[in-house]
């Protein structure tokens, strides 16, 4: 309770934001204590989408867990697939064919673009501009069309396999991606004119919800959120998995760690992803898409923590195998779960309008928070 409130004898107002609220991005529940419009205490209440994934993982085979992984961060299922296959592959010491590696990277990076597009659209709505959402979805539908041509699904792809990918690329895929990248680049400028440099938008986001470097590390933020604070931390460079070390790309970083920086890091990441895709398309050569893997997957007993750079941040999987067909323990370190925790600290002293700006800029997906 603030001093002024104590002196006047008025009471704080408790506001329940969510689980159904237009801008909590799903079923997040925020308990806000407020002095007028100023927040004195904020407590995120999660678990409204807790589906018991980690328990279910212990009842599913290693292969079936890839299908479950689609539903962690349902906006970027390909990155989840990536995280789900890396662990067993390393435990079983499988060498994935080169073509499959490049396909995986193309998929994951396209997914990063798609995920950031959703962020761009929904963030616009949070700030009060509805139109960017429709522009973002126009481009996203094109990516989904490409995915559909490969694996038949729009959202939950279940495309990666332990040892490769499930299907080879159809003929129209590579030209399709090339055409998309060519079409997409100028669109990024369109987004900038639409939203990024709008004075009202800048007024709402610049200097709001700043996270310092120390805080970002202390709360173990990852992905665009930590990079916006000026720390160039990216698993793709830090601990390169798959064949990411072969690619030339930059890591966009911010300066102040405020909402606008987080937004701009994501916007810049989209063009970097486009660069990676272009390079991967160059390197793509005919060949196998699956390594020789036994029909029944039984990784030898052991444990491993693998992580990938998902669009939201470091997506880690800590899996323990006891040599059977199912994992013994399957812990998912969802980036959104960790990134969301800082909210309770950030919101103090902000206005209610800033809550949506900050929450949107952290870019969470509840499927991954609650699992």
């Amino acid at each position: 309770m603030t001093e002024t409130l104590k002196n006047t004898g008025f009471e704080e107002m408790t506001l329940n934001m969510g689980p159904q609220h237009p801008s909590t991005h799903g079923v997040l529940h925020l308990l806000l204590k407020m002095d007028g419009e100023v927040i004195t205490e904020a407590r995120p209440d999660i678990g409204y989408l807790h589906r018991g994934m980690e328990k279910l993982a212990e009842k599913r085979t290693w292969g079936a867990n890839i299908a479950l992984s689609d539903r962690w961060d349902y906006i970027a299922s390909m990155s989840n697939n990536f995280a789900a296959v890396l662990g067993p592959e390393k435990l079983m010491n499988i060498a994935v064919p080169k073509r499959a590696e490049y396909i995986r990277i193309i998929m994951a990076e396209l997914n990063r673009i798609a995920s950031h597009l959703i962020f761009f659209g929904t963030y616009g709505i949070d700030i009060g501009a509805f139109t960017p959402f429709f522009y973002a979805f126009r481009e996203r539908e094109m990516i989904l069309d490409l995915y559909e041509s490969v694996c038949g699904a729009r959202l939950t792809y279940n495309y990666f396999r332990i040892g490769g990918v499930s299907a080879d690329l159809p003929e129209e895929f590579v030209p399709g991606v090339k055409a998309f990248i060519k079409y997409f680049r100028p669109k990024l400028k369109e987004y900038d004119t639409l939203l990024s440099t709008n004075p009202i938008f800048m007024d709402r986001t610049v200097g709001v919800g700043a996270i310092s470097k120390e805080e970002a590390v202390d709360w173990a933020l990852s992905g665009p959120n930590i990079r916006a604070s000026g720390i160039s931390f990216d698993i793709r460079k830090e601990d390169p998995y798959s064949v990411y070390s072969e690619f030339d790309f930059n890591i966009p970083t911010g300066k102040n760690g405020d909402c606008w920086d987080r937004y701009m890091v994501r916007m810049n990441e989209m063009s970097e992803s486009a660069r990676i895709i272009e390079q991967a398309l160059e390197k793509l050569e005919p060949g196998d898409i699956m390594a020789k893997v036994a029909k029944v997957i039984r990784p030898p007993a052991g444990e491993i923590y693998t992580h990938v750079e998902a669009p939201k941040g470091e997506l880690g999987v800590y899996c323990i195998s006891d040599g059977s067909t199912m994992p013994y323990r399957y812990k998912v370190r969802g980036p959104s779960f960790v990134n969301l925790a800082i909210l309770q600290k950030m919101l103090r002293g902000l206005k209610i309008a800033d809550v949506v700006a900050v929450l949107g800029s952290i870019d969470i997906v509840l499927g991954e928070v609650d699992r």
Partner: protein
């Protein structure tokens, strides 16, 4: 004689003359003739208002859709979903009317009526055409601003009576916003009033026979008026009382059915009034090419401003509440004072 090209206003005057002749012939007292005359106008106005609201809602959905690469309503009633808003209204009419358990029942009921009445009254002094004006009062513009400041009361009533924290915040926000933007709104019009030297609507329109005030130093006043007017009708970027992403639906969160319909209609009638005043004060009202009936010219200008407001709505993000206040008090208000000063000098020099 009536010519096809002549304006609706002349037709109205001709009809009134015939009515007066008829009454004089029958010996009907003046009072009855007067009430028939005004009653007919009022009924015509009511029909016009409801049609306008329906058209504006349909227009908003279509305009927003086309700005967002969509089509908007396409199926209801056949051709491009023309009857979409009619279906919406019938549905709202037949929907269950929920009053929250802990609500202040009477205030909750009265609020939607209070919001609608001032926006109806505002239409009385709008000059649609030469002679086609409900009451050409010599304080015309003051009437409109006087009534429109009642609207804030109803929004606050609705927000308070619903007994919901979101509606309360929405109501408080709108009270703060509408009161502080009332000042620049009135002051921006003051420039025009000073130029003309009259508050009478018809005088103001007649003064623009040669050149619209938009193309005089009153241009600054026009800009201020549009900004403050957007804030006055709670549209984006000033829609913080509704603020869908923050306050769910703001002051009308707890309203359902017909009562919500009233709030929705009043929002659009208010938009129309604000645009109509802009057309009257800055764009020459019914003045236009001689071959165009005055009412067409007037409605065309009004709809142009309405379109402008819709354009704002679907491109701009929303202000934050404290920045909105800053903008209103620290920027817009001094600017409108400067505008008055400038117009005063201009008027003096012109003389």
């Amino acid at each position: 004689m009536i010519y096809a090209s002549q304006s609706l206003g002349d037709l109205w005057v001709w009809l009134l003359e015939r009515l007066a002749e008829f009454c004089g012939w029958l010996g009907i007292p003046e009072v009855i003739r007067y009430s028939v005359e005004k009653g007919a106008y009022a009924i015509g106005l009511l029909v016009f208002i409801s049609l306008t609201a329906l058209v504006l809602i349909y227009m908003e959905r279509k305009v927003s859709a086309h700005m967002q690469l969509r089509y908007g309503p396409m199926w209801t009633g056949g051709w491009h979903g023309w009857s979409q808003t009619i279906a919406d209204m019938i549905k709202l009419l037949l929907k269950e009317d929920v009053i929250p358990d802990k609500a202040d029942r009477w205030v909750h009921r009265v609020a939607p009526i209070v919001v609608f009445v001032p926006s109806l009254l505002g239409f009385l002094v709008i000059p649609f055409d030469k002679h086609l004006i409900g009451a050409d009062l010599n304080v015309g513009i003051l009437i409109i601003f006087g009534f429109s400041s009642i609207a804030v009361l109803s929004i606050f009533m609705g927000g308070w009576a619903s007994n919901n924290k979101y509606t309360l915040l929405g109501g408080l926000r709108s009270a703060a916003q509408m009161i502080s933007y009332e000042l620049p709104l009135v002051l921006s019009v003051l420039g025009v009033i000073m130029t003309v030297g009259s508050l009478k609507m018809s005088d103001i329109v007649m003064a623009q026979k040669d050149v619209w005030f938009l193309f005089t130093p009153n241009f600054l006043g026009f800009i201020i008026y549009i900004i403050a007017g957007t804030a006055e009708v709670n549209r984006t970027p000033f829609d913080i009382p509704e603020a869908e992403s923050e306050l769910v639906s703001g002051y009308n969160t707890e309203y359902s059915g017909l009562k919500y319909g009233f709030f929705m209609l009043s929002e659009f009638t208010n938009t129309f009034i604000i645009s109509a005043i802009a057309a009257t004060f800055f764009m020459g009202g019914w003045n236009g090419p001689s071959w165009l009936p005055g009412i067409v010219s007037f409605l065309g200008k009004t709809y142009l401003i309405v379109f402008l407001l819709m354009w704002f709505r679907w491109t701009f993000p929303r202000f934050r509440v404290d920045r909105l206040m800053d903008f209103g008090w620290k920027f817009l208000l001094p600017l409108s004072f400067f505008n008055i000063l400038m117009i005063a000098v201009w008027v003096l020099v012109k003389k």
